[in-house]
């Protein structure tokens, strides 16, 4: 067994590292750490690195997962320490373990969304947005744009705090191969609904990823 699942965080300005750039960052960090890693066969061999659930640009996270095929000669502890020495400061490996669950079964992700609006907002008003039956939105897909009902992608939202024009949401949104939604679409639609001019600041942070196991929803690891 040489495939390891690395749990890592991506914080601070690291949220602006795109998916492709992150892949490159891992590849080079592994090189620097001199951890023996497996390469794909074929004309253009590359390291075998798979992210469980790509993170939208502009979002921080404390629970990201990447599967990497290392050679058998390295221990998980070694992977963790050596890699952390060689990763840029905004990315940190938290845990190395054997992958048990399949990324394929991921169904949702939980986000904390902190918003500062340009004016005072009422809690009821925010809640009424999420209570709508239908929230039409356009979603960018590989094939182009698609009209969707955003409500179908929002599993649960709570206004956990609100003080003047600043509020925090806990949002559980669809994620994974079946139905994936970027949290910023929700924020944009909310802004539109509140008739607000541009929010002064929006911080989105991913805290947990869930998958379906035997009809049960569990925390991905």
């Amino acid at each position: 067994m040489s495939k390891w699942r690395l749990k890592f965080s991506k914080l601070g300005m690291g949220k602006y590292i795109s998916h492709l750039d992150l892949l490159r960052t891992f590849t080079r960090s592994i090189h620097r750490a001199e951890i023996p890693v497996r390469y794909s066969q074929g004309f253009n061999p590359h390291q075998l690195i798979t992210f469980s659930l790509p993170l939208a640009l502009g979002v921080t996270s404390e629970t990201e997962f990447v599967d990497i095929d290392f050679e058998d000669t390295v221990s998980p502890d070694e992977i963790l320490t050596r890699l952390n020495k060689n990763l840029p400061p905004d990315i940190k490996i938290l845990k190395v373990s054997q992958p048990i669950f399949k990324a394929h079964d991921i169904v949702s992700a939980k986000y904390i969304i902190d918003i500062i609006a340009p004016r005072v907002i009422l809690k009821e008003k925010i809640e009424s947005f999420f209570e709508q039956e239908n929230i039409s939105a356009t979603k960018k897909t590989k094939k182009g744009e698609k009209e969707i009902n955003l409500r179908d992608f929002i599993k649960e939202v709570k206004v956990v705090s609100l003080e003047g024009n600043a509020f925090r949401l806990d949002a559980l949104l669809s994620a994974g191969g079946e139905a994936n939604i970027k949290p910023d679409i929700v924020v944009a639609k909310l802004q539109e609904y509140l008739n607000s001019s541009e929010f002064e600041s929006v911080d989105i942070h991913r805290v947990e990823i869930f998958f379906e196991n035997d009809k049960k929803i569990e925390s991905f690891c």
Partner: protein, 616 residues
């Protein structure tokens, strides 16, 4: 976190490629307690992915940051979308590392790599809320300095920049920082710092020199306006590269940059002396690193970066004395680690083909040659020692070895050029194609061959034998391009050329004087920036700026200058004598070539530095 950081972070959501602005890359240096250091903002007047590809910046960045008393942070030109957001949100230009306003640094240094980045310098100063003209900067403002190849004739920026650094920055940068600390302690005024550093060899404070003009607009004299400053400012070099600062780490960017790889500098300078090439004269004399040192450095760079590619860097790879040995030893340390080695700017010969075979194990991409001129006569004029038969022979070897794409680079508008020379470009490209079809089908790869001909327009540059030459008028260049395009009949040759308007402005600013300062200020006001980028270059705005300032750009680009005239850069000494350049200019008209420094020293004057090839 400073006051702007929060706003800045939010703004990044709205721009393309936010990774340009985040910093925190591996090997970037972030120092706590910003205030206690001498603060140097290293500014590259272009976008991140261009600036980060530049070796000089990497060297000076790490060198300065190794000082415990100094912090050096990077600043790049924000792309136009980011500029708009910054201005909208009222955020000044910030450094990449600590996101501190550029105006809070002690020294703001620009590197001048190409003339078409000048408008970006002014725009960056404007974004940083630093007055554009040095005379308007108050006591607490940063000093603005500039170095790099264009600083040798930095006269168009003389009103903007507080001081120039001429030559290689490794030693001088340290000296100006030492001087800064002493000056700061002395409590003296702004001028006194400039006076102190004007005594450092390689530092040029333009405001300490007065320029007088004649009635016809040419220069009467350039004289120091105070005592204690040198009449002539001599460039600085690192005499022994192995003993200088060795760059053994590099920042590894998140995003894809133009040259996203290890750059291993193998030597500085060039032995060849092509008469149009400014770099060939500016960086004399040739100085090499030892192979042992290079291997040691390469190993460290591999360990410290994790890059998957390494490229050798110099003006002409083939001229490195122990190239074979170097490549063999580099392959020993790169192959196992799956690191590709690339050897740019190889000269055309059998030996280089062999080397190429060795390093290019995977893809047989295209080959690139730069004969620069279409006929042997013109190649002799410009001292480009490439013989047609050599080129064709190598093309043959390349085609036989499986290549089927070749790129040929030429210049049009060279001194003494006739239509025959222009036609020679097409002839040469056709001959290359013939070579392909002479090779038996079984050996060559593919059924057809593509030759890409690219022409750039000749720009006369200071400190070259062609500095006195007029540039071809835009109309003439366009006519030559058109002629060549029509002359190329076969579809196997594709032809592309550079915009002549850009080349014209390049000539104006390359050979310009102080009177262009106002034009730059006006152009920035009109919105000129990113002039090196086709999509942003606006020629009309530039013409407008010249007109508003009452400056005739043609005076600088199109005038045939007499050898006796005082040039705007005559008070700068690059170590190559004006006499030598005159001699080379005359020889060009006699169609006589000059041997390379290794064949025979031609007495250019660079022996005065006491090192390098002149003493081999």
């Amino acid at each position: 976190m400073n006051v702007y950081e929060r706003k800045f972070e939010q703004v990044l959501k709205k721009v393309q490629k936010p990774a340009r602005y985040i910093g925190n890359e591996f090997n970037s240096v972030h120092k706590e307690n910003f205030e206690k250091f001498v603060k140097f903002a290293f500014c590259f007047p272009d976008v991140y992915e261009v600036g980060m590809s530049h070796l000089g910046m990497k060297i000076l960045y790490h060198m300065m940051n190794e000082r415990i008393d100094t912090v050096c942070e990077r600043v790049f030109a924000p792309w136009v979308d980011m500029e708009e957001e910054l201005r909208k949100a009222d955020i000044p230009l910030l450094s990449l590392e600590s996101h501190m306003p550029v105006s809070s640094f002690d020294i703001v240094g620009f590197t001048l790599q190409y003339e078409m980045s000048y408008s970006n310098i002014l725009n960056m100063l404007d974004l940083a809320n630093i007055p554009l003209k040095s005379k308007d900067r108050g006591e607490n403002m940063p000093f603005v300095c500039a170095g790099g190849p264009c600083a040798y004739n930095g006269e168009p920026l003389a009103d903007i920049v507080d001081f120039f650094i001429l030559g290689e920055g490794e030693e001088v940068n340290n000296e100006i920082i030492d001087a800064f600390k002493e000056w700061k302690e002395s409590g003296e005024n702004r001028i006194s710092y400039l006076e102190r550093i004007s005594r450092i060899e390689g530092v040029y404070v333009p405001s300490f020199y007065d320029v007088k003009y004649k009635d016809d607009g040419t220069i009467e004299s350039v004289k120091p306006n105070r005592t204690g400053v040198p009449e002539k400012i001599k460039k600085r070099i690192v005499k022994e590269l192995d003993n200088g600062y060795i760059l053994d780490k590099m920042i590894v960017p998140f995003m894809d940059i133009v040259h996203d790889r290890i750059t291993l500098e193998i030597f500085r300078g060039c032995i060849r002396g092509c008469r149009f090439c400014q770099a060939g004269y500016l960086y004399r004399p040739v100085r090499e690193h030892s192979t042992d040192k290079l291997i040691e450095t390469a190993q460290k760079l591999i360990d410290n970066t994790g890059y998957e590619e390494m490229s050798l860097s110099s003006l002409s790879t083939s001229d490195f004395t122990c190239l074979q040995e170097l490549v063999d030893r580099l392959l020993e340390i790169t192959v196992d680690k799956r690191i590709n080695l690339s050897l740019p700017s190889l000269r055309v010969d059998n030996f280089s083909m062999e080397l190429m075979e060795k390093v290019q194990t995977v893809k047989k991409s295209g080959l690139t040659f730069a004969p620069e001129a279409g006929t042997q006569r013109l190649r002799d004029v410009i001292n480009k020692n490439v013989l047609e038969e050599d080129l064709l022979r190598t093309a043959g070897i390349a085609f036989g070895g499986g290549y089927n794409r070749i790129k040929l680079y030429f210049m049009i508008g060279l001194p003494t050029e006739t239509m025959e020379d222009v036609e020679g470009i097409a002839d040469l490209a056709e001959k290359v194609i013939d070579v392909f079809y002479q090779i038996p089908k079984e050996i060559r790869k593919g059924r057809s061959v593509t030759v890409t001909v690219s022409t750039s327009s000749f720009v006369p540059k200071p400190f070259t034998p062609f500095q006195w030459e007029p540039q071809n008028r835009i109309e003439d260049l366009v006519a030559k391009q058109k002629f060549l395009k029509e002359r190329i009949k076969t579809r196997s040759i594709s032809y592309n050329w550079h915009q002549s308007h850009v080349s014209f402005l390049e000539a104006v600013f390359a050979k310009g004087d102080r009177r262009l300062g106002n034009v730059l200020v006006e152009a920035q006001r009109l919105g000129c920036r990113f002039d090196g980028w086709d999509e942003h270059f606006d020629y009309e705005k530039w013409l407008d700026a010249f007109k508003k300032c009452g400056v005739d750009p043609e005076f600088y680009a199109y005038r045939k200058i007499d050898h006796s005239e005082t040039l705007p850069w005559d008070h700068i000494d690059i170590g190559v004598s004006k006499q030598f350049l005159v001699k080379e200019h005359d020889k060009a008209y006699e169609e006589k070539t000059t041997p390379s420094c290794r064949e025979k020293c031609s007495g250019c004057g660079a022996t005065s530095f006491g090192g390098g090839v002149c003493f081999e």
